[in-house]
């Protein structure tokens, strides 16, 4: 038996789940796909007094297209997102990034809400939510509130959700038709967390780049929007020189840490290399395809 003992609850509704969160006053953990929480519990690094299993809340698993947005129930599985035609059409960056989340048997269980609430800075979904300017809906005993990515992610594995709040929905505006996009990451083995990942989106009209989005994964405590690198492209278009300048600027903007996987200098260099790759690939597929 690996995890320590805990009370186990399997509520059927969000309201019941929130009531349980309130009852345990921060000592309970929500169990979504379990692909990050269960390893922590098996190691006994996480020792919650109670687990509130969300897998029986059927109303939390959906993908809906609505008013120029896609709305995802927090318990929508990554694998459902990976194979969703509407996600491929409206949020191709999310579809591409999803195929990089862990492995096939991880995506079977893993959920969009769980990945965002876990807030691993190396994970794909926090970077995609940031790049696509999505929001999450949190519900607690005092009602609902909406948080942007920059408001949600506080630090490594830490969000601004209150202990009695749960993330119930993810809303992402559809990408503009014909936008270029790419998610590039480097990891030692396929399926590992990225040492560095880059999400890129480019919207171009004629010679002008009207919007550029560049966001890192793994290059700091939270996904980082590289605004000054984006501005180089928005001012100078998508020439090879502008891409190179944006990639160099990206490397200056990040504040990566050194850990057992890579040094800060290595991550900084990867940021430059992957930004260049992501931008070139985004341009190559612009206008569809």
């Amino acid at each position: 038996m690996k995890p320590v003992r805990f009370d186990y609850h399997r509520p059927a509704t969000v309201e019941e789940a929130i009531a349980l969160l309130t009852r345990y006053g921060g000592e309970a953990k929500l169990l979504a796909g379990g692909q990050s929480l269960m390893p922590l519990m098996n190691f006994r690094v996480a020792r919650p007094a109670a687990l509130i299993d969300l897998n029986a809340i059927a109303s939390l698993a959906y993908i809906r297209e609505d008013d120029g947005h896609l709305r995802f129930g927090a318990m929508t599985r990554q694998r459902t997102i990976e194979f969703s035609p509407v996600v491929r059409r409206r949020l191709p960056l999310l579809a591409e990034a999803t195929a990089l989340v862990g492995h096939l048997p991880i995506r079977t269980r893993g959920t969009i809400g769980g990945s965002l609430a876990h807030a691993d800075p190396s994970a794909e979904y926090p970077a995609v939510l940031t790049a696509l300017e999505g929001t999450v809906v949190a519900r607690g005993p005092r009602g609902e509130r909406t948080l942007r990515a920059s408001e949600l992610f506080e630090s490594y594995l830490t969000t601004n959700l209150h202990p009695d709040e749960m993330l119930i929905e993810v809303r992402v505006p559809a990408m503009p038709e014909g936008a270029g996009f790419a998610f590039e990451e480097f990891s030692r083995r396929h399926g590992d967390f990225a040492i560095v990942g880059i999400a890129a989106v480019l919207v171009v009209q004629g010679e002008r780049c009207t919007a550029a989005r560049l966001v890192t994964a793994g290059a700091g405590p939270v996904p980082t929007r590289l605004r000054e690198a984006e501005e180089i492209l928005e001012r100078g278009g998508c020439s090879a020189a502008a891409i190179e300048a944006a990639a160099r600027r990206a490397a200056e903007l990040v504040e990566p840490d050194t850990d057992i996987h890579a040094s800060a200098a290595y991550r900084r260099n990867l940021t430059r290399v992957l930004t260049g790759r992501a931008l070139r690939r985004a341009i190559a597929r612009m206008g569809g395809g």
Binding site: K2, P3, Y8, G34, P105
Partner: protein
Amino acid sequence: MADLVAVRLTVNGQGREGRCETRKLLVDFLREDLGLTGTHVGCEHGLCGACTVLVNGEAARSCLMLAVQADGVEVLTIEGLSKDGTPHPLQEAFHEHHGLQCGFCTPGMLLTALDLLRTNSRPSEAEIRQGLSAVLCRCTGYQGIVKAVQAAALTLGRSPLKE
């Protein structure tokens, strides 16, 4: 003694039940309570893939699920892969192409490959390698395993077993 909870599920087409602590992992429940020791316990934190089973038809790590979460679901383990003593085409192919040596990772490899072929009936070599990166082999290497999955994809493409 902690409270025990009842777990009722379908394993390899048969209704099974047991009672266990809520903290018991599905893999330990399969092995210790149901006696199905074909599912192997490797790293116990979702890295090695040895414990992969199908849960409602989809590959999942049984070390990252609680037994109590499997209440009411359908599980396929390695014991359910052959039919009436006839090996599944994937098992035949692993035998034929030397897709196993010590056999520890093999149940996870087979069930992961089964799910891979369900969603992609003609995978490229790269797609097979990417799919099977979910399971670690520490002895044969992957060449024989990849060949076996390629061969099984062809057999299954021709066979009435294909779902």
